[in-house]
């Protein structure tokens, strides 16, 4: 129900989101989030490395969690990999539901979990060289708030394939 894609080509948000409402009249809300490369501190390019054998499965697991938690009529996750420059989209998440609350929450959940539970690594290029981005504790905190009462996380779950 939530489509996932990993691609080295630019993300076309309109193309990715169109299927969520095509030939449907029951969708009341679509929330779309797009993350872009910023030119912070002279950043000239960003390279996304990933673990191909695991990535789509990890995304499908995260998508299945969202679908189990909220009444969604559809969704899409598109993650870019490879080298990109400031202004280009890194990631797109879109979710459709009857009502906005579920769509907003599911989109935020998907982004929080994408940042902490999918095998991607960012390397930043600047004039001085290339450096790997360190994981942020604030991202872990954001992801942890979605853990259920048992404290269960996706780390203990087998992929939903």
């Amino acid at each position: 129900m939530i489509a996932v894609a990993v691609q080295s080509t630019p993300i076309d948000a309109a193309v990715a989101v169109a299927p969520l409402t095509a030939e449907r009249s029951d969708v009341g809300a679509v929330v779309t989030f797009t993350g872009f490369v910023r030119d912070d501190n002279g950043l000239t390019a960003l390279t996304l490395e990933h673990y191909p054998a695991m990535t789509e499965c990890a995304l499908a697991t995260i998508a299945a969690q969202a679908a189990a938690r909220w009444p969604l009529s559809g969704g899409v996750i598109v993650h870019r990999v490879g080298r990109m420059v400031p202004g280009e989209a890194i990631v797109l998440v879109a979710v459709a539901s009857s009502h906005r609350s579920a769509a907003f929450q599911a989109a935020e959940f998907l982004m929080d979990w994408l940042k902490t539970k999918a095998p991607f690594w960012k390397a930043e290029e600047r004039a001085g060289g290339v450096t790997w981005v360190a994981a942020k504790a604030s991202d872990d905190t954001a992801a942890d708030r979605w853990n259920d009462r048992r404290g269960e996380s996706v780390f203990e779950l087998r992929p939903a394939v």
């Binding site: 993350g35 999918a118 360190a134 994981a135 996706v154």
Partner: protein, 84 residues
């Protein structure tokens, strides 16, 4: 045999993106696997020195250091993820 995959700065410090090695007897957990790997070269030692900065997946699923490993497994070793 065990298939090892390295990503991001773990890959850079070790110098290869992966290797297939015979799994020595007595190595049955991620933790003991990392201890053994760290002794293989200066690059392995540098990559694995700070275990707090290391994450692991066994057969494409995130795993803790106490997770079991056995011959035939695919073990990926990498820094904390930074996607999204």
């Amino acid at each position: 045999m065990i298939e090892l995959l390295y990503f991001a700065w773990v890959r850079e410090r070790i110098g290869v993106d992966g290797e297939i090695l015979p799994l020595p007897q007595g190595i049955a957990t991620v933790s003991s696997l990392l201890d053994w790997l760290a002794g293989r070269s200066a690059g392995h030692a540098a990559a694995l020195a700070d275990r707090n900065a290391i994450r692991v997946a066994v057969d494409q699923v995130f795993a803790g250091f106490d997770a079991a490993v056995a011959a035939g497994a695919e073990v990926a070793i990498f820094p904390p993820v930074t996607g999204g």
